[in-house]
Amino acid sequence: MKILVTVKEVAAVDDEFELDGLAVDDRYVTYDLNEWDEYAVETAVQIREAGDDVEVVAVTIGDADAEETVRQVLAKGADRAIRVWDDALAEAGLLDPATKARVLAAVADDEDPDLVLTGVQSADDGFGATGVTLAERIGFEWAAVVCSLDLDREAGVAHVHRELEGGVEELTDVELPAVLTIQTGINEPRYASLRGIRQAQSKELAERSLSDLGLAAEDVASPLEQTDLYEPETGGDATVFEGSAEATAAELASALREKGVGQ
């Protein structure tokens, strides 16, 4: 069985930042493995540990700087990784879910996985749609926002719980091959061990260009164009207490007492 896990290095913006055109100035940005993808990786590695003949392949779309993040995924137990990048992707502008799905579909065609796991969404642009878009493209079944997974490999069925709004879970059986988008909390992602980090250095991290995947620059031309970026106006009119912790706590306490709290 082969599991393809899509991972992404995401950007986190500092509390204070400046904009630089259509991006946040890089001085205020730090990069890390997408939180949702950590749970997807853990799900894949746990399936491999529970069964024989399972290979976990991580794939990312990202420039050379993303290699460190992908090595983290290898250190956590993925067997090998693929990083897709080239000049055409660098110049492609907004990599929306459809664009990413075209690239990931080409990788899936090469790899022929039985199961694809993705995070529900990425922490930076939060489209939340790449997994299902990919499933539709490659003709796989799918389930979005999976918070529990019981894989019956023999029957070729994934028994999943999907986390709906309002504290309700939907129980669904999904035929394999499938794409599952994994919600945080489904498991407890491991830290990479020192041994894992050492081993990751010798694992394969293959680079692929669009042409390696049989794609051309026009395949990543998105109809979506980002035209503006700005800080939203804050609509807040909170009474903010200032001073020492004792002083602000006292003021808040008196405001709350007026509302009948703590009496």
Binding site: A11, V13, D15, L19, V24, L94, D96, P97, A101, A123, G126, F127, G128, A129, V132, T133, A135, E136, R137, E141, W142, A143, A144, R162, E163, L164, E165, G166, G167, E169, E170, L171, T172, D173, E175, T184, G185, P223, L224, E225, Q226, T227, D228, L229, E231, P232, T234, G236, A238, T239, V240, F241, E242, A245, A249, L252, A253, K259, V261, G262
Partner: protein, 316 residues
């Protein structure tokens, strides 16, 4: 030209977001001087259609296929209806189920999809506003296509009101059963604990800013001094520090206490969706730019490890 909005329902109830989509659709239809079409798939569609017949809605399409949401059925049904109606914009909810079929419909019809949209306009082409980096910035996206699809963030638009005079039409779809490869087998309520946070008058709610599980003691101390109940945002539930039924937010419980004290909670949109109906919101956070302050009535920008014990002392 038309705008088509697809309603959402669960366990016999039309969800509120369905009526919000009608407002979005009317707004876009006004931009293009077009009609608003609504659709509902599955369940008691006639009853749902009555509720969807709001002011400004021209046609409601009912598709009687199945009782509950099944994404394989929805994908086929919505794609077929979209081809028949040919709307300039297909509007779907940015809900868990919306994200389980909207990308498939958009992909199948080769329509560009913009998700989690918080504002929209149409002037020759669609322009959508989204948030990035946990709501720290907003971005505007132009969709260079004459047909588009969007998913709309719940609770960003008011629900459509009034009673309309829409035509209600049954739409026959041709479902390919071989392509239905998922089966919904049931529903389960999470939690099962002894405390119902939706009943509490005062909630002391704690988020990622608390850092470590053992630090929760200061929160429990405050709750005890106030006679309040402790709830939490998602990361703490994911860590297993509190049971699932203590989670406030879109995927947790929606709470409306008299007072909601958010401690170390930044105020991500998913969390806010669960607590913004509280009468009084108090935020304690060391980041002055945390979005929670945008909806708070009272705020303290300071280290929670100093403020919370000081506040406890005030009530002991």
């Amino acid at each position: 030209m038309t705008v088509l909005a697809v309603a959402e329902h669960r366990r016999g109830e039309l969800r509120e977001v369905s009526l919000e989509l009608l407002t979005v659709a009317r707004q876009l239809a006004d931009d293009i001087e077009g009609e608003v079409h609504a659709a509902v798939v599955g369940g008691p569609v006639k009853a749902y259609a009555e509720r969807l017949n709001r002011e400004g809605v021209d046609t409601v399409h009912t598709i009687a296929e199945g009782e509950e949401f099944n994404h394989d059925v929805y994908t086929q049904a919505v794609a077929q209806l979209t081809e028949a109606v040919d709307p300039a914009v297909l509007v779907m909810p940015n809900s868990v189920n919306g994200l389980d079929y909207a990308p498939a419909v958009a992909g199948r019809l080769d329509r560009p999809l913009v998700t989690d949209v918080v504002d929209l306009s149409y002037d020759d082409e669609l322009t959508a506003t989204r948030e990035l980096y946990g709501s720290k910035v907003e971005t505007t996206i132009d969709v260079h296509a004459d047909r588009a699809a969007v998913t709309v963030r719940p609770a960003e638009w008011p629900a459509a009101e009034g009673t309309g005079d829409a035509t209600v039409e049954a739409f026959e779809v041709d479902i390919d059963d071989a392509a239905v490869r998922s089966t919904v087998t049931g529903f389960e309520e999470v939690g099962g604990g002894d405390v119902d946070i939706t009943d509490a008058d005062v909630l002391v709610s704690v988020g990622r800013g608390i850092g470590e599980e053992e630090n929760l003691d200061i929160v429990y101390d405050l709750a005890e001094a106030l006679g309040a109940t402790v709830s939490a945002s998602r990361p703490l539930i994911d860590n297993g520090w509190l049971p699932k039924d203590r989670q406030v937010g879109q995927s947790g419980k929606v709470v409306t206490p008299d007072v909601y004290i958010a401690i170390g909670i930044s105020g991500a949109v998913q969390h806010v969706a669960g607590m913004k109906g509280s009468d009084i919101i108090v935020a304690i956070n060391d980041d002055p730019n945390a979005p929670i302050f945008d909806i708070a009535d009272y705020g303290i920008v300071d280290d929670l490890f100093e403020v919370v014990p000081a506040l406890t002392e005030q009530f002991e």
